[in-house]
Symmetry: C2
Subunit: 117 residues, 2 copies
């Protein structure tokens, strides 16, 4: 009898320490669903990208996404592997998320949202 | 003295059981970097979306992304919270990822890639 060793989900080497997904969906300002773009996401995500780069940590990255839902809560971003959703409103909020969560590993509780599906 | 109870990263309720990010980056076929789009991603991701919807599980979702890097390895997708990267080549590969990993919670080892940063 031969046994085949099988990798489990948790055996796979991690590529990133933290992978941030930021919604770049843009709808017209009058669109009834709203959008992260209409809520002012773009300058915040530009700052997010710059601040992540400034950490010098190559295992912390940001990826641009299309709509992740929860459009009324925008601008929204989610940090994995923790699955923490944030709603930053100002450049200072972005900086705090980078410093405290992405680098420091501590939750920025005041900016957390828990979207309902 | 007052102590403030602080939530830790793992205390935050999870929105999704599995969140799939699929790269929709499209560059011209002759572009030296390549792209997931040029590697045939679009029909695979269309199927991925349909098959996820067909599971009826609202806590398994897919989000479209821009470039996640590793363009030569495309089409690529990553499943969080596990942080497992896959390179499906056929519709059957996509179906297997949905059934085995997203729903079943077991790795599809033959389709895993571990990109180097």
């Amino acid at each position: 009898m031969t046994e085949t060793a099988t990798l489990s989900l948790t055996d796979v080497p991690q590529v990133y320490k933290r992978h941030v997904f930021a919604c770049f969906q843009q709808r017209p300002p009058t669109h009834p669903r709203g959008s992260c773009g209409a809520a002012g996401a773009q300058p915040l995500w530009e700052r997010l990208g710059k601040q992540i780069e400034a950490t010098g940590q190559r295992d912390i990255v940001m990826t641009a996404t299309g709509c992740m839902g929860f459009c009324q809560a925008g601008p929204i971003m989610v940090v994995y592997p923790e699955g923490v959703w944030y709603q930053p409103r100002t450049p200072e909020d972005v900086d705090e998320i980078v410093t405290t969560h992405l680098v420091g590993g501590t939750l920025v509780e005041r900016l957390v949202i828990v979207p309902r599906i």
